[in-house]
């Protein structure tokens, strides 16, 4: 269970407080698929990062499986993120000097797996996303769609129960978008919780539940 309890995020801009998130409460059941929409600057990405333990709310708490994320010390929070959460970024955020295989190996390295185990698991994941023949290529040698598939394989490396996707199709053409959404759908069917930020209604339509953020407040 992912529970957001009355969270607010207030930034200070030119000495003036700006509310990005305003007293938002939310419960997401395990295995749910939630899309989060809203105009630019409405706080969607901030809310997603707060759900992932990456951005501490000014007020309120985020509880995942009974753990209040921001009450954990930084080391435990990192370990929790490594264990439970998978991020998908709009710009993929692949490490440019590592090959596709090595990019997928990173979460496994962080988990402390041996090189042999890392290679076995990362190879299997790249096979799953159809990139076995590109595993030794660096991101610059891959197409945009292939880069996103590497990012999806990397996200799956730590076998997360919660997937947080920030505009996962934002940089992709329609064919590739459909492919990524199908992939996220399959992961959801496996029982993983998916929370996805998007501004595209067609993409949001893949979700079981659609939420909209307007001026920092949530509308279902």
């Amino acid at each position: 269970m992912l529970k957001v309890n009355k969270i607010s995020k207030i930034y200070t801009k030119n000495n003036n407080p700006v509310k990005a998130i305003d007293n938002v409460s939310l419960e997401i059941s395990p295995g749910d698929f939630v899309s989060l929409m809203g105009p630019s600057g409405s706080g969607k990405s901030s809310l997603l990062l707060m759900l992932g333990g990456m951005l501490k709310p000014s007020l309120g708490e985020v509880i995942i499986d009974g753990h209040s994320l921001y009450d954990l010390n930084p080391e435990k929070l990192s370990a929790f993120r490594l264990e439970k959460i998978g991020f998908v970024f709009q710009t993929f955020n692949l490490i440019p000097y590592l090959t596709a295989l090595q990019n997928v190996q990173i979460p496994l390295l962080l988990k402390g797996m041996s090189s042999k185990q890392q290679i076995e698991k990362a190879t299997a994941l790249l096979e799953k996303v159809g990139l076995l023949d590109r595993m030794h290529h660096e991101p610059a040698e891959l197409s945009i769609g292939q880069q996103q598939r590497v990012a999806l394989a990397r996200m799956l490396a730590n076998d997360p129960s919660i997937i947080l996707a920030d505009e996962p199709t934002g940089n992709l053409d329609s064919a590739m978008s459909a492919h990524v959404m199908q992939f996220l759908g399959e992961l959801n069917q496996e029982g993983r919780t998916v929370v996805m930020v998007t501004h595209d209604n067609n993409v949001a339509a893949h979700a079981k539940r659609r939420l909209t953020l307007v001026n920092g407040a949530l509308e279902e």
Binding site: S45, L49, Y97, Q102, I106, P107, L109, L110, N158
Partner: protein, 406 residues
């Protein structure tokens, strides 16, 4: 994959940056290694030269001035032999060898030669009271010698010309200088008459290129008796430790023996010691410069590197990397940079030294291997210290801001 692979991939991806990051530290270390290598071999060369030269301090009667170092004892004047005892039992540091001499010109087979009386080292050994104190009990502090007077070894008589001391010489034995032996056709085992007394030649000394080649050496007490001069000497040769000579050995001997004229090869010793000290001070100066410049350069590059990689750092944090992991990645990178900088600096510095040594110091220079560890140690320390704050900055980066900024 491990974190080292990760670091190496990042480092070698940006080869130009790797070179510029390491350049300041490599050059700084290279200069230190070059100076230290040349200084080390210069000191060895000085030590060798002084060792080959023999005595570097002469104690003469006050009326005598030095013209030719090796013939100073021929100008007349006398010192009491007890000055040798005074010197030997004193607490003056840096006296490595001591050789009292009494010289007198005589004629042998119609040729003028210098008969010089010397005190063999068994005479020192016989005086047991000398062995418990003074020069005999002093620690080894400099030079290449390990045994004051070589009391624990037997040495061939030919070493007189170099060590200024020999082990034994009987009252009827003599050692003959190279030139006079050739001139008079004398050989080891021959007999020779001097001042109407027969002597056996126990050794012909190797050529030295000094007036010693024209001397005949006999026991000091024999010469004293033959010349009816009593318990006196013309000069006392001292092999003084090079560093101690520069630290005031002469003043100490003068204070102990005020009625004497103490002379040293001061110009040679002082100039060479000064040059070495200058080189050493230069090394220290470069060490300071390298710490400041190399450190600043690495710190600057590391800050830039962290800033450029903030999206990557944010991604790693999103994937579950802890701030400790980020700190470790940056510091390990600094460690690699430090090792490469030390290695590069050592190789470059050694090449500089090998090429420049013969020109600067006129000596052959070879690699000094222990400097490799010094170079790497200094380089790693500078890189780690300079990178600590950028690493801390990286570990405290707000991943959200990092992901959004780029």
């Amino acid at each position: 994959m491990n974190w080292n692979n990760f670091i190496f991939r990042e480092l070698f991806r940006r080869k130009a940056k790797l070179v510029t990051s390491g350049l300041a530290i490599i050059l700084g270390i290279a200069v230190i290694v070059a100076i230290t290598t040349i200084t080390t071999y210069s000191e060895k060369a000085i030590s060798k030269e002084l060792d080959a030269l023999g005595a570097n301090v002469l104690i003469l009667p006050p009326s005598v001035s030095i013209g030719d170092y090796y013939s100073a004892d021929l100008q007349g004047g006398e010192l009491p032999e007890e000055y040798v005892t005074l010197l030997t039992t004193s607490n003056i540091e840096g006296v490595e060898n001591l050789s009292p001499k009494l010289s007198s010109p005589i004629h042998v087979k119609g040729n003028r030669v210098v008969m010089t009386g010397i005190l063999p080292k068994n005479e020192f050994q016989n005086k047991t009271s000398w062995q418990g104190a003074g020069v005999f009990s002093r620690p080894k502090i400099c030079g290449t010698k390990s045994d004051v007077f070589n009391l624990n070894q037997t040495t061939p008589k030919e070493t007189l010309t170099r060590k200024r001391v020999i082990e034994t010489i009987a009252p009827n034995e003599v050692l003959v200088g190279h030139d006079i032996a050739q001139k008079l056709k004398l050989q080891e085992g021959n007999e020779i008459a001097m001042l109407e007394k027969p002597f056996k030649i126990v050794a012909v000394l190797p050529r030295t290129g000094t007036i010693d080649d024209s001397r005949i050496f006999a026991h000091l007490h024999t010469v004293q008796a033959l010349t009816n001069r009593g318990e006196v000497v013309s000069a006392i040769e001292v092999v003084g430790c090079c560093k101690q000579v520069s630290k005031g050995l002469i003043g100490k001997i003068s204070a102990l023996l005020p009625e004497t004229n103490v002379i040293t090869i001061s110009q040679i010793v002082a100039t060479q010691v000064k040059t070495n000290e200058l080189m050493r001070n230069l090394s220290l100066l470069f060490l300071v410069v390298i710490i400041l410049m190399g450190g600043a350069s690495i710190a600057n590059d590391m800050y830039n590197n962290v800033f450029e990689r903030r999206k990557e750092i944010g991604t790693l944090v999103a994937l579950g990397a802890s701030s400790r992991t980020i700190l470790k990645i940056i510091l390990n990178k600094a460690l690699v940079l430090g090792i490469l900088g030390g290695l590069g600096g050592y190789v470059l510095g050694t090449i500089f030294a090998l090429i420049l040594g013969p020109f600067i110091a006129g000596i052959s220079v070879f690699p000094v291997f222990y400097l490799f560890f010094v170079a790497v140690g200094i380089s790693v320390c500078i890189a780690m210290i300079a990178s600590y704050f950028p690493a801390r900055y990286a570990s405290k980066l707000d991943p959200c801001t990092s992901l959004r900024d780029t």
